[in-house]
């Protein structure tokens, strides 16, 4: 008998999805099912948390030093 699993389908870039999988791997608390390369099923109650975690993660990875200005 088929089952219905409620959740939020998140569609995003493959690189963002990889970060979501990485965040989830710490506590396995966000992802219900990995759907495909760019799609993942998330617990509805955890969506806001995930968004925050993702913003933190993106800030951390993207604060590399600016190119030094020669001249």
């Amino acid at each position: 008998m088929p089952r219905a699993i409620p959740g939020v389908m998140v569609e995003c870039d493959a690189s963002i999805k990889a970060i979501i999988v990485k965040i989830d791997s710490e506590r396995h608390d966000y992802i219900l099912e990995d759907l495909d390369e760019t799609t993942v099923l998330i617990k509805e109650s955890k969506l806001a948390d995930l968004k925050e975690a993702l913003e933190r993660e993106l800030q951390d990875t993207q604060t590399f030093p600016e190119d030094e200005d020669s001249d």
Binding site: M1, P2, R3, A4, I5, P6, G7, V8, M9, V10, E11, C12, D13, S15, I16, L32, E33, L35, D36, T39, L41, I42, E44, L47, K51, L54, E55, L58, Q62
Partner: protein, 82 residues
């Protein structure tokens, strides 16, 4: 249903978050196909994977009724045969 879709903009990357239900664990290809077609007719089908026999719908109530109805019909048919 469209108003339920939430768009995120993080670091210039667009993300789409849509509430609904993943329908999975179909035992036969025929059950999968017929239920999928019904979801498509209702206009609630948003994602599918034919290999896994999984699909995602924005609303699942009518799909659940359809599945239950089919299960009842199949049980009645099996009983008739016995």
């Amino acid at each position: 249903v469209v108003d339920q879709i939430r768009l995120w903009q993080i670091e210039g990357e667009r993300m789409k978050a849509t509430p609904g239900s993943l329908i999975r664990d179909f035992s036969t290809e025929r059950d999968y196909r017929e239920t999928l077609n019904y979801a498509e007719e209702l206009g609630v089908l948003l994602w599918r994977n034919d290999q896994k026999r999984w699909f995602f719908v924005s609303r699942h109530e009518q799909i659940a009724d359809f599945i239950a109805q089919r299960a009842r019909a199949q049980a009645a048919k099996a009983q008739g045969r016995a």
